[in-house]
Amino acid sequence: HAHFCSEDKITVHFINRDGDKLTAKGKPGDSLLDVVVDNNLDIDGFGACEGTLACSTCHLIFEDHIFEKLDAITDEEMDMLDLAYGLTETSRLGCQICLKKSMNDMTVRVPETVADARQSVDMSKNS
């Protein structure tokens, strides 16, 4: 039976909305949604539709060099990604991105929500 030693695992760092770094591991082929769920990462509202391309709550922002090497986006994913808040040039839906060895140690960012945008405005007022 399969035996996973640490070399098989891929490390991913998630920068949460509050700036916290959450580090987790997954197996090749796991989606980023799997990684969040399996590791019980505390990201509010992530993956509401459970990976069925019926929402955009698993929206993540990737580093340029990782983004360029991702598998091409399908129409179905883009249809839902287009509804995401805070879309960037390197945004994808986490449920559609599967781990590869080359992603080891990559950092993904959880995009801000309306509430976060408000927070940062409030904070800048105090500075």
Binding site: G45, C49, E50, A84, Q119
Partner: protein, 475 residues
């Protein structure tokens, strides 16, 4: 900083009151493991949720189309939240009648109103009350098993249906009217609606909007689904799309892709629809009509039902989302026996103690804080207006939750007086003869629905009679 968590944790109240057209944002209340930047409040708040119907989930149960089961997966997140020991659900409680908002404010440190938009905008034209004319809200409620719409009995004996509106709800209705039965049979659409649709003569559906293709409110996934619907062909007039390709060249990607899909569909040669493969007696069709504003629903010769709609042709003033439709004076008549008005939902005032802006149809608020009423908040459609998908409303809930937590932290919300929470509400309800339904009660109803559906190969057979629901749980 001391929190009132020591003797009596602050009890937050999130009433999820309405059914059908409310409910989306339901318990996006501060997640028990919330990561708001107020660590001292971790584990401090108790949240009670009140709902008018015995069953929870609001629009996710009664608004989302039966053939969109993936969208309903979010109920698993809701369920997880409610199962927390700091969260409780009380169904079958009508706030404003069984318990008032001022009474809730006595019982809780903070009260959040997220009861959505149960009513609909009115056409305001002659003939709109003729038999054969229905609101989208009622029609959707009917096929989704909303108790108050179970006896709608829509007349599906005509060939042509006209849906007024260019949003996702309009597309949902068109799709349900034209879907092959073998697809609908496996969904959680109610048995009686399925039987009615099996006898339906409707084979042509027009979606009519006052403005142009650049102002459509539906989203691309739903449009694509309609275009690919087995047994039905799209009818789009290329003339409606002249010059639009260049108009959207620099538009934001969502609008651009949506418009390009419509243009592509309009220019494609009609494909021979495999009627037999789709199981339909004859090929069905659907189309989009633009720049037409309904003036009157025309009666049949005996005056007893709708037979068509007179439409005013419009031209557009301005562009983009703010474009206005101005009547040109020209009119046309469209023959149809079924008219569905899908022009938007509308919230209703709940309680005299709660301010309400009837013009905009929302509770006046600032970031979810109800104007002039400390300790009262609102979120979702009753706060922002009735548009948006799950993520919109979810983000909005987080915004309101943020306001509540800010007020807790900043001392604006005074949590020093002890509040009794449900203990107080329970005695009020008992004195009024109201018996709330718990979440585990709901789980019994849920199990019954799933069991009944299994026999028919459906995810569930919804129980549409509230009395029957109460019987199942022994109330």
């Amino acid at each position: 900083m001391q929190i009132c968590g020591i003797s009596q944790p602050p009890a937050l109240y999130f009433p999820q009151l309405q059914t059908n057209v409310a409910g989306l944002l339901w318990p996006f209340c501060p997640h028990p493991d919330c990561d708001f930047p107020l660590p001292q409040h971790h584990g401090g708040a108790l949240v009670d949720i009140y709902e008018k119907l015995p069953v929870p989930f609001g629009l996710v149960r009664f608004g989302v189309a039966p053939d969109h089961p993936e969208v309903k997966n979010v109920t698993n997140t809701f369920t997880q939240t409610v199962r927390s020991e700091r969260c409780a659900y009380y169904g079958n409680v009508t706030v404003g009648r069984d318990v008032t908002v001022p009474e809730l404010q006595q019982a809780y440190h903070a009260v959040v109103l997220s009861y959505g938009a149960e009513d609909n905008r009115v056409l305001g034209i002659p003939g709109e009350n003729l038999p054969g004319v229905y609101t989208a809200r009622a029609f959707v409620g009917w096929y989704n098993g909303l108790p108050e719409n179970r006896d709608l009995k829509p007349d599906l004996s005509c060939e042509t249906a006209l849906i007024l509106g260019h949003g996702n709800v309009a597309l949902d209705i068109a799709r349900i009217l034209l879907s092959p039965l073998q697809l609908l049979r496996k969904t959680d659409i109610t048995d009686s609606s399925l039987a009615a649709l099996a006898c339906s003569k409707v084979k042509r559906v027009w979606l009519v909007g006052r403005r142009g293709p650049l102002q459509v409110a539906f989203t691309i996934k739903e449009l694509r689904e309609m275009i690919n619907l087995p047994g039905a062909r799209p009818v789009l007039d290329p003339a409606d799309f002249t010059g639009l390709e260049s108009a959207v060249k620099d538009a934001p990607r969502p609008r651009k892709r949506l418009t390009e899909l419509m243009i592509k569909t309009a220019l494609e040669k009609p494909v021979e629809v495999q009627a037999a493969a789709a199981g339909a007696a004859a090929p069905r069709e659907w189309g989009l009509k633009f720049q037409r504003s309904p003036q009157e629903v025309l009666p049949s010769a005996d005056g007893r039902r709708a037979r068509g709609v007179r439409l005013a042709l419009t031209c557009l003033e301005g562009s983009g989302d703010s474009a206005k439709a101005i009547p040109t004076g020209a009119v046309e008549e469209l023959e149809c026996g079924l008219v569905l008005s899908s022009i938007g939902y509308r919230s209703l005032p709940l309680d005299p103690a709660v301010p309400f802006d009837s013009q905009r149809g929302v509770i006046p608020n600032s970031s979810g804080r109800v104007q002039g009423v400390p300790g009262l908040y609102c979120s979702g459609w009753v706060k922002r207006g009735p548009t948006g998908v799950i993520i919109t409303t979810m983000n909005d809930s987080f915004d309101t939750a943020q306001s509540v937590l800010e007020d807790l932290q900043g001392g604006v919300l005074d949590i020093s007086p002890c509040r009794e929470g449900f203990r107080l509400v329970e005695s009020i309800l008992r004195s009024r003869g109201v018996r709330p339904v718990s979440f585990s009660d709901w789980e019994k109803i849920d199990a019954a629905e799933v069991a009944r559906g299994k026999a028919a190969g459906k995810p569930r057979e919804k129980i549409v009679d509230p009395e029957e629901m109460l019987q199942i749980i022994g109330h």
